[in-house]
């Protein structure tokens, strides 16, 4: 058995509210885009980086509850030929409540108490308007890690920033932008993985 992490870390805890949120997976069968039910590192960190124009922002999130799921069907139009493509049905969550944890560092310590960002897919259609309200600062002390199921998605390369130690990992890939036009998929730990991690990243029940 390896030794657990022995580092102190601090995270800003924000409560998340969104009326309509679609954190889309890849489109299936060319016509259907399902949503996931957590907030991956790449989504929330990317949104915050874009909003504040800073680089060293590391955040993860999870969804505590949502009222219901619904579907939105639209047909993307080819602007050159002015012809509609096959309609795509997108799944989205309604009235979402969740948590976001941002690693405290020089670039994030002056983040305001309330942040309004746009998160997820179909932002041009009015989806993803999200309010983050600061709840406080969470300190994770030496060896104070809980065991259980991870409630978020996070690239392997950032596990150390959130003191996550996989036990029974469930892997997947998250997209990481390299530039405005380039991206790569990076190996990541997905929700449901059994891990040692700070309590806020663990599902409450075993």
């Amino acid at each position: 058995m390896q030794k657990l992490w022995v580092i102190d870390m601090e995270y800003f805890h924000y409560e998340l509210h969104s009326e309509t949120l679609c954190i889309g997976e890849r489109i299936k069968k060319g016509t259907f885009r399902p949503t996931i039910e957590t907030i991956p590192y790449t989504q929330i960190s990317g949104a915050l980086k874009a909003y504040f124009g800073r680089q060293e922002v590391h955040a993860v999130g999870s969804i505590v509850e949502y009222e219901s799921k619904d579907y939105f069907t639209y047909s993307p139009r080819n602007r050159i030929t002015n012809v509609s493509k096959i309609p795509i049905t997108t799944e989205y969550l309604i009235n979402v409540r969740g948590n976001v944890y941002i690693l405290k560092n020089k670039e994030t310590e002056d983040f305001p108490d309330e942040i309004e960002i746009k998160l997820g897919a179909m932002r041009t259609k009015g989806f993803g308007y999200t309010i983050l309200r600061k709840k406080g600062l969470v300190e994770v002390r030496n060896g104070q890690l809980d065991f259980g199921k991870l409630n978020t998605r996070i690239p392997i390369e950032h596990l150390d920033k959130f003191l996550i130690k996989p036990v029974k990992p469930q892997y997947g890939y998250l997209i990481k932008p390299l530039s405005l036009s380039k991206a790569v998929y990076v190996l990541s730990l997905f929700e449901g993985s059994e891990v040692y991690a700070p309590g806020f990243l663990i599902e409450k029940r075993w």
Partner: protein
């Protein structure tokens, strides 16, 4: 002589239990006793196994070769109980007491139990002549199978919870495993050693030999969207068969996507990794190192206990919240939550078990992990649309719609296998309106929980002290359960085919079928079929809770399958019916009888109720209780149903019945 003829054929070691022990012991050491006119024993390896498979004070005979020594240990590992269960002063019970379906009466006479005169010289001669000819295992089960299924392995009241059939099969599996695992001792030693030395050696081996009990779960990353993607279930079936082939003496239990295995402690599952890697699947495993004298089938006992306690905590939380007036609940919630989940007696117990569990993890007694094939750190786009685990290198063109999908080689090959489930293809082409996706899920943890409770109840009835402590569930009970579980699945499928016709039923896996339906009302029929078969096979689960869950998703034939699968692969209630676009029903199996009796025959009334709900659920609910409404009296049965089952369940049911 071929190798098979030289084997002791461990399956037959307890054949003597089909003869009344009034005549002689089941290991035949005092055969023929006072019986005359019966044939002599003609020694062969099978007789060796029968005569030498015990090593106790009570028995004169004992193992005199390495094979019979291993058999003696396997017999003990495969027994239903640890032999500490004794109901004093009670006559033996020869018929099996299945914990989930107890017999109408307990039979104290072997002849009555198995339906032949088990004391007659003719019956004894039959058995002795049979063994004398050194028969095959197949012959044994063919001729004596029906008696083995009835006769309890151990007729001691309280221990009679598994059949001789299960015990025979399990003993053989464990024998074969141990034969390759235990350090070989020369037969010469057994010939010169005293009985006491052999007894000590058996005790030492049982105490000091470590084995691993492993539960594996096979996962597929593919998100099936097209009918052809359902071929992943075909692959799952193949993977299970391949694992069985590679580990013929290790697999104790097979579920939908789970397996329970007994392995050497140094097993690293490389063969399993190779098998699943070929299809891009991955495996989770949980393991526990145990001694041979503690053969419990549950590598995750602490986690199972914690989950059980958390469920009690949740009920307690709901009970306390229900006492608080609705307008004060929000304020009080935090306090109640703390009191129940952090400060209560159960919270302390959970913390104690957690601490113990972490200690075990530290000592390396138990562990868990996942096995993946290959995991590159980075993948350049495009990524496979189905599994999202590999680079997409193939293009799948759908001729009909012109849509192109980018897939990895694994997913492409699975899709390319062709239509493994042709009826689904036909239904899609014929433009079928709706299909039901029906999945039965067996929760292993819940199974052990409920069997422990039922076993404790049985021991309590017999007046055995400390029933909770003694009610240990071992491998044999799970194997016994497995027979009935398979029978249940078979009956359920058969009844569905009888009702809906073979052309309208497509079996995907034993526990997963699809049915083409004409009307939503057919969902009620399906629930009725399930309820009847379940009550017949597992009546006792209805009194407690059910480890068997039923998931039904009703969707249009072209509805993306992954949506249906997402619901079916995460069943949280015992019965879940999801009608896409209409609503859900979530029930316990014990509620099904009453639920199916809700009297909602008037279609016009149902239509009015469901139309109101489309405007507002609240409006529909209020209307049910509105004395001014002209249908107030006619809504009586719905009002009563809402009280019992909740508004959402009844509303969905009304939509189904109003179709």
């Amino acid at each position: 002589m071929n190798k098979n003829a030289q084997s002791i054929k461990p399956e037959m070691h307890d054949i003597g239990k089909l003869i009344d022990s009034f005549l002689f012991k089941h290991n035949f050491e005092d055969y023929p006793g006072k019986l005359s006119g019966v044939p002599e024993i003609k020694q062969n390896p099978v007789w060796e196994g029968i005569i030498q498979h015990h090593c106790t004070e009570r028995d004169k005979e004992y193992p005199k070769s390495f094979s019979t020594f291993v058999l003696s240990i396997a017999d003990s590992v495969a027994s239903a109980t640890s032999r500490h269960v004794e109901a004093r002063g009670k006559p033996p019970r020869y018929n099996v007491y299945k914990l989930w379906r107890p017999p109408a009466k307990c039979v104290n006479d072997l002849s009555e139990a198995i339906g032949v005169n088990a004391r007659s010289p003719k019956w004894v001669s039959n058995i002795v002549n049979f063994v004398n000819k050194n028969p095959s295992v197949e012959e044994f089960f063919k001729i004596f199978g029906k008696f083995l299924k009835i006769r309890a392995e151990d007729a001691t009241p309280g221990s009679n919870i598994t059949s001789l059939w299960t015990h025979s099969k399990l003993t053989a599996l464990i024998y074969n495993f141990l034969l390759g695992y235990l350090e070989k001792v020369s037969d010469e030693w057994f010939k010169i050693a005293a009985k006491e030395d052999i007894k000590d050696y058996i005790r030492k081996i049982q105490k000091n030999t470590n084995i691993k009990i492993v539960r594996i779960k096979i996962n597929f990353p593919q998100n099936p969207v097209r009918v052809r993607d359902l071929n992943v279930f075909d692959v799952l079936k193949e993977i299970k068969s391949e694992i069985l082939e590679k580990y013929p003496n290790n697999v104790l239990f097979i579920g939908f996507d789970e397996m329970l295995m007994i392995t050497p402690i140094n097993e690293n599952f490389e063969e399993i990794r190779k098998i699943v890697a070929r299809y891009g699947f991955w495996v989770e495993f949980t393991e526990r190192i145990q001694n041979l004298d503690q053969p419990y089938p549950d590598p995750e006992k602490p986690i199972r206990q914690i989950k059980r306690l958390q469920r009690i905590q949740q009920k307690e939380f709901e009970r306390q919240m229900a006492k608080i007036p609705p307008n004060k609940r929000r304020l009080a919630e935090e306090g109640v939550r703390k009191a129940v989940f952090e400060k209560g007696k159960l919270a302390k117990e959970i913390n104690r078990i957690k601490a113990e569990y972490f200690e075990e993890v530290k000592r390396g007694v138990c562990g868990k992990s996942s096995i993946y094939a290959e995991l590159p750190e980075k993948i350049d786009p495009p990524i496979c649309e189905l599994c999202q685990m590999k680079k997409a290198s193939e293009r799948w063109e759908d001729v009909e719609s012109g849509i192109t999908e980018l897939l990895c080689t694994d997913c492409f090959n699975i899709r390319k296998r062709g239509a493994k489930f042709p009826k689904l293809d036909d239904w899609e082409k014929e433009g079928a309106d709706r299909v039901l996706w029906i999945k039965i899920h067996l929760d292993m943890n819940e199974l052990i929980n409920v069997l422990e409770e039922l076993y404790a109840e049985y021991l309590r009835e017999l007046g055995i002290g400390e029933p909770e402590k003694r009610a240990e569930i071992r491998f044999s009970v799970l194997s016994e359960f497995d027979w009935d579980y398979r029978e249940f699945l078979e009956k359920f499928k058969r009844n569905i085919i009888e009702k809906f016709g073979g052309d309208n039923v497509q079996e995907i896996l034993e526990e997963f079928i699809s049915v083409r339906i004409d009307s939503l009302r057919d969902i009620r029929t399906m629930l009725g079929i399930f309820n009847t078969v379940f009550t017949e096979v597992f009546p006792k689960f209805k009194e407690k809770y059910s480890p068997i869950k039923l998931g039904i998703v009703c969707a249009g034939v072209k509805h993306p399958f992954l949506e249906c699968w997402r619901i079916l692969s995460n069943l949280r209630t015992e019965v879940k019916v999801a009608v896409i676009g209409k609503g859900e029903i979530n029930l316990n199996i014990s509620q099904l009888d009453e639920f199916l009796e809700i009297n909602v025959r008037n279609k016009a009334l149902l239509h009015k109720f469901t139309s109101l709900s489309e405007i507002s659920h609240r409006l529909a609910e209020v209307t049910l209780y509105d004395r001014e409404d002209r249908d107030y009296r006619r809504y009586k049965s719905l009002r009563e149903a809402v009280k019992k089952f909740g508004f959402q369940n009844v509303l969905t049911y009304a939509k189904i019945m109003g179709d």
